[in-house]
Amino acid sequence: MPSIKSPDELEAFRKNVLSNRDPSKPSITLCSGTACHATGSKEVAAAFEQELEQQGMKTDINFRKTGCHGFCEKGPIVIIDPEEICYLQVTPKDVPDIIGQTIKEKKVLDHLLYTDAITGEKTALESEIPFYKHQQRNVFGPNRRIDPRSIEDYIAIGGFQALPKALLEMAPDEIIAEVKAANLRGRGGGGFPAGQKWEFARNAPGEQKYVVVNCDEGDPGAYMDRSLMEGNPFVVLEGLLIGAYAIGASEGYFYVRQEYPLARKNLDIAIGQVEELGLLGKNILGSGFDFNVHVHRGAGAFVCGEETALLMSLEGRAGEPKSRPPYPAIKGLWGKPTNINNVETWANVPLIINEGAGALTSIGTENSKGTKIFSLVGKINNTGLVEVPMGITLEDIIYKIGGGIPGGKKFKAVQTGGPSGGCIPENMLDLKVGFDELSKAGSMMGSGGMIVMDEDTCMVDIARYFIDFLTDESCGKCVPCREGLRQMHKILTRITEGNGKEGDIERLQEIAETAREASLCALGKTSANPFLSTFHYFKDEYEAHIKEKRCPALSCKELISFYIDPDKCAACMICIKKCPVDAIDGAKKKIHIIDQAECTNCGTCFDVCPSKFDAVVKFSGVPVPPPISEEARMISKKSK
C-alpha cells in the first residue's frame, strides 16, 4: 500500500483500486459476523473456498466474507451478486449447489429463499425481503458490501471521501456547525446533541485534548455497536478523525468491551491499514493535523459505559463515576478536555460531511433526526439488527420488519433502553420512535435494544431481572443506588416468590424517588425505571402476585403448579423418565400424575411432553384439580 500524503494521491489510489475491480464479475458474499459464526458460517466459508478451488473458479468469482448483515435469525446468509439473490440458513451441504446451479446456471434454489411465515410466499431478492425492505440502512448498509479487513473495499465503496473534505476544505467551526445543524444526538443512550458536546470541548481551555469511542455497549440484548465495529471499523475511524480535527484533539481512545474479541481484532487490523495508508499519524493528507489512536479493553463492568466511569477505567482505576460539573468536555481524561461519543454516533459523521446536515434532517421526527440501529430481539420471528428512520412506529418495526410474534402468541410489551429504560404495552404500538417520544412513554431510546415480550412473559419478573442486573453492575459508591437496588432486589424477589408484604409497593416508590433525585450518575438515577414502567402499565400483575400469590403469565417458578391433564395424557412415559426428582407416577397405559409435594417446578415435563399431546398445563393462584380415580387412570383401547 502506498503512503498517501494528499487528497489527490488518495483519489489516485481510489481510482487504482476501482480500476482493478470488475463490477460485472459475479460475487458471493457470506456474512461472517459473530452471530453467523455461531450458526456455522466458518464451515460454510471453508466449503466455498474448497468448492471454488476444486472447480477452478477462484479468479472468476469474488468471494467476500463481510461483517454482520443484521438478519441474525436466518444466518448464515449468502448473497449472490450482481443478481442480489439472498440465501438464508446456508449449510456447507448447500455450497456445491449454489456454485453449480445458481452461479453457473443462474438457477435459484427455492429451499434457501426467505419464506413468509404466514403466506408461504418466497422472496429471492435481498431488497425485497420484508425484513430489509422497510429499513433504511444509511449507516449499517456498507457492512454488507465490505470485507472489514480490507481498507480497499471501504475505499472502493466511497469511504474516506469525507475525511479529505473535512481536513482540507472545511474549518473546524464549519464542521461543528454542520454536525449541529444535522441535530446528531448521541446514539449510545444519552441522546445529547453531539455537535454541542464537540463545541464545549473545542472551546475548553487547554492544548491537549482527547476523543474517545465508547464501545462498551453494556445493555443486555443490544449488539449494534459490536456489529458496526466488527463489520466496518473504518467508518468509525473516519468519523473519529473528523471529530478529532474539529475539536482539536491529537489522541483518540477506543474503549472496547472485553466481551467483543472479534470487534477488537478487526479494529486492530483496520487501524494498522489506516496507519499504513498514511491516514493516521502525522500531517494527515498534508493538512498539518496529527492524530493517533489507542485501543483499550474493558474488563466486564456495565457501569463503564457511563462517560466518567469509562474515563476512570482508561486511567487504570475502578470504574466509579465522578460528580459533574466539571463535565468531561472541560475536565476529562487526565483532567484534559475530552469528547466521548458512542460508536454509532461517530459512524454517522462521514455521512453528514459527505452529504451535509440534510442527510439526517430530511429524516425523522421534530427532535429526533436521522436513522437509528436497533437490536430487535426476544419473542420475535425475525431477530436481528434493524436500521430505521426515526419516526417509524413500533408496530411497523415489530410486525412489518420483525414478522410478528412466533408460535401464534400474543404481543405483550416491548422493552427499550436497556436497564434504564422501560416497557411499552400493546395499546401504544403506534408510538413513533424517537428520543423524546420514548421518554414521554416512560421508557427511553437507550442504545437501541428492543426486546419483544409475549403473553408468557411475567412483567414483575422482568422488573426483578433488570434490578438483579443492576445490583451486580452498580459501582456501589452512592447510597441511593447501592442501597436502593439492594432493597428493591429483595422486595421484588419476595414478590415473585409469593411473599409480597403490605407496604412493598410504597417502599419501592420511595426508593424510586430517592434513586432518581439523589444518585450520583445515570445508572443510579434510572435504576428504578424497570419497576416504575412495569408498575405503570401492568399494575394488575403486581397486585395478582402480592394479593393472590398468582402469576398471570404462569412464569414465576414459586407461584405455579404443573398438572397433567388426564384428558390429554397418552401415558407415553416420557415425562416420568425425564423428571429429575421422580415426582411423576404412571405407567404405559396408566395416566400420569404429578406428586405436587415432590414437584420442584423445574418445568421439564412441560418441555418434553410431545406437542401432539400438550398434556402438561400450568396453574397459578389456585390449587390444581384433585387426582382422578385409579380406575379412571387406566387407559383401555375403547376409551382412547
Binding site: 459473530t34 463492568a301 456495565f302 482508561l314 482505576r317 475502578a318 426476544g378
Partner: protein
C-alpha cells in the same frame, strides 16, 4: 505463573500505571486467574498501590482471584436470552455441575459464570463453553452437552 512472563507483559504496556487493567487482562487471559503473587508484582512494577490493584482486580468481572476449571461455562443472561428461558438453563447447569455462578467445582473441571449478553440474541438461550458458542440451548440439550466434556 512465571514472574518473567509477568514482567514481559508489563513491559509490553510500557510500564504505565494507567495500563493496569490491560496488564491484568493479559495475565488473566494467559493464566486463567490472578494469583496474589502476580498482583504484588504488578503493584511493584507499575508503582500502583496494592490497594488499587486489589480494588481493580475485584471490581471488574473478567478477573478471577481463584483458579478456574478446565472448562469455562458462560451462560448468557441478557434480556433476550432471559425472555427465552435462560434461567432454566442455568438451573440445569447448577444441578449438573453442583456449582453456582462464580464458582469452580472441586475437581477443577468446570467453572461457571453468567454473562450479560454475548450479542447472539437470535440464538437465545446461549451458552459459551471454552469460547465456543452454543445456541438454542434447552435444559435437556444442556445435559447432553456437558456430558461431552471430560
Amino acid at each position: 505463573m512465571d514472574i518473567d512472563r509477568i514482567d514481559q507483559i508489563i513491559e509490553k504496556h510500557e510500564g504505565a500505571a494507567s495500563s493496569l487493567i490491560q496488564v491484568l487482562l493479559d495475565i488473566q487471559s494467559e493464566n486463567h486467574w490472578l494469583p496474589k503473587a502476580a498482583l504484588k508484582q504488578v503493584s511493584e512494577k507499575l508503582q500502583v498501590p496494592l490497594l488499587q490493584v486489589q480494588h481493580v482486580a475485584t471490581f471488574y468481572k473478567t478477573f478471577s482471584l481463584v483458579p478456574k476449571g478446565r472448562h469455562e461455562v458462560n451462560i448468557c443472561m441478557g434480556t433476550a436470552c432471559h425472555v427465552r428461558g435462560a434461567g432454566r438453563v442455568l438451573d440445569k447447569v447448577e444441578e449438573l455441575t453442583g456449582i453456582k455462578p462464580g464458582e469452580t467445582d472441586l475437581d477443577l473441571k468446570f467453572s461457571l459464570e453468567t454473562v450479560n449478553c454475548v450479542g447472539c440474541c437470535a440464538l437465545g438461550p446461549v451458552m459459551d463453553i471454552n469460547g465456543k458458542t452454543h445456541g438454542k440451548i434447552s435444559p435437556t440439550k444442556t445435559e447432553k452437552l456437558l456430558k461431552s466434556y471430560e
